[in-house]
């Protein structure tokens, strides 16, 4: 139990207060920045600030900086697998209908005869069957 006491880290009060104030300042900054439009950068800026805030919380409030490194491993591991989940799913959702866009650079030229005409195959036939009201979703997702 002596080990126990020795391993405990009692952080100074000022450190907690500093981290807390830092978080509040960052909140103000992110709200302020969001009032301006940076186009594509909006997402990156907001997420960047959120990551900094999250790191502060994890490192100091959750003591990751001072604790056994295995907790860090568990935490980072969970984010890693979450990343795999989202990114691998996006390999599908963002790239549907790809192969029809890649007609200009076929993978194996001699293997098949490639289409040369227009590529928007789906939309031209939407009228063929009036009951396919949901088909519009497809047109939007594949024609990007």
């Amino acid at each position: 139990m002596k080990d126990d006491a020795a391993q405990r880290h009692i952080l100074p009060l000022n450190l907690y207060l500093a981290v807390g104030s830092g978080l509040l300042v960052l909140t103000v900054i992110t709200v302020a920045v969001a009032q301006m439009d940076f186009g594509q950068m909006n997402l990156l800026i907001a997420m960047g600030i959120a990551v900094v805030k999250a790191t502060l919380v994890a490192m100091f409030f959750m003591h990751l900086k001072y604790d056994n490194r295995i907790y860090m491993l568990v935490f980072v591991g969970s984010l890693l697998f979450l990343g795999v989940f989202i990114i691998f799913t996006m390999f599908d959702t963002l790239r549907r209908g790809d192969i029809y866009e890649e007609i200009a650079e076929p993978y194996q030229k001699e293997a098949v005869i490639y289409r040369t005409a227009e590529t928007g195959t789906a939309s031209s036939h939407a009228a063929a069957d009036s009951s396919h009201n949901a088909a519009e979703t497809e047109t939007e997702t594949s024609d990007h």
């Binding site: 192969i99 007609i103 076929p106 993978y107 194996q108 293997a111 098949v112 005869i113 490639y114 289409r115 040369t116 005409a117 195959t121 789906a122 036939h125 063929a128 069957d129 009036s130 009951s131 396919h132 949901a134 088909a135 979703t137 497809e138 997702t141 594949s142």
Partner: protein, 314 residues
């Protein structure tokens, strides 16, 4: 070439089939080789190193890194060969040739229908010419189905919210089975169809004739054919028994109570309306599950069906 084909795989009806089968054969023989090896060695060890002493103590051995690396590297190389080979064929399976003829495929519970650019339609039977790439533009009206022709080695899910595409080029004439391979409910296992591959000139004739009764075929006989072809028989019986829908036996002229309480007499117009907009008036006691045949059946088909239903007396 190899003997596995007759046992394992169906006839090769399309241009891609022989390539897919060749890779299947390659993996089959490699697997067989290793499988026999593993089994034989295991059995040999069991006999050779059978326990002889009571204590059964064994000698120490040296770990062999070289051995471990060997049996990591060799399978890795083989697997990469298989991956690249499969990848190349997959690309062929997915890129539709430019000179393809396009057919619209619709899956719904529980039949397939096919619409041609030229205006012909078909239910359950896909008629195509031999030696001509055919592109199938597919969608579903309800749940997910999957379009599978074993002889062509093609399969693609048919989704309700978007179009999916597959293609094939038949290399021989004949009839081949179509299955639905994505579970879609009660009639899933009977969501069958046929691909009928015709010589090019016959196909042209078929396309021109479109539909309607054949030569010497009465409207009643034509209607009987339509009754089976359009899968009416999966829900409507001819012997008076209650199925998903009302029986056709003695239907014409019968007085039926509708779900809204009114009573009507079944006549030509009611039958026509029930085929085209089935939700308009329903016989009481049945679930509103009948799909519309709007855009699938032509007037002549409906005429035939009416003639056929008229002929079904008690």
């Amino acid at each position: 070439m190899d003997t596995t084909r007759s046992l394992f795989l169906p006839p090769q009806g399309s241009t891609v089939a022989s390539d897919v089968d060749a890779l299947f054969g390659f993996i089959f023989w490699i697997s067989l080789f290793f499988f026999v090896g593993v089994t034989a060695i295991t059995v040999y060890f069991c006999i050779k190193y059978k326990r002889k002493s009571e204590t059964g103590q064994t000698t120490p051995y040296v770990e062999s890194l070289a051995l471990e690396i060997t049996w990591i590297v060799i399978p890795t190389i083989l697997l990469m060969v298989i991956f690249v080979w499969g990848f190349q064929d997959f690309v062929r399976l997915h890129i539709v040739p430019a000179n393809s003829m396009e057919i619209k495929v619709t899956g719904q519970k529980w039949f397939w229908s096919f619409n041609y650019d030229e205006g012909a339609t078909g239910v359950g039977e896909l008629v195509v010419p031999v030696g001509q790439p055919v592109k199938l533009l597919m969608s579903s009206k309800d749940v997910i189905h999957s379009f599978f022709v074993p002889a062509f080695r093609i399969k693609m899910d048919v989704l309700p919210n978007r179009y999916t595409i597959t293609w094939f080029e038949a290399t021989m004439t004949g009839e081949f089975e179509i299955y639905c391979t994505e579970f879609c409910g009660k009639g899933h296992s009977e969501m069958w169809g046929t691909v009928k591959v015709l010589p090019k000139d016959e196909f042209a004739k078929w396309l021109e004739a479109g539909s309607g009764p054949g030569e010497g075929e009465s409207m009643k006989e034509y209607g009987a054919r339509m009754f089976v072809k359009n899968a009416c028989n999966t829900c409507h019986s001819l012997d008076g028994s209650k199925n998903v829908g009302p029986t056709f036996q003695g239907l014409f002229g019968r007085r039926e109570v509708m779900s809204d309480g009114t009573t009507i007499t079944v006549d030509e117009n009611y039958i026509r309306e029930s085929i085209l907009s089935p939700m308009a008036k329903q016989v009481v006691g049945y679930d509103p599950v009948m799909p519309t045949y709007q855009g699938i059946l032509k007037d002549v088909d409906i005429d035939g069906l009416i003639a056929y239903i008229k002929s079904l007396e008690n």
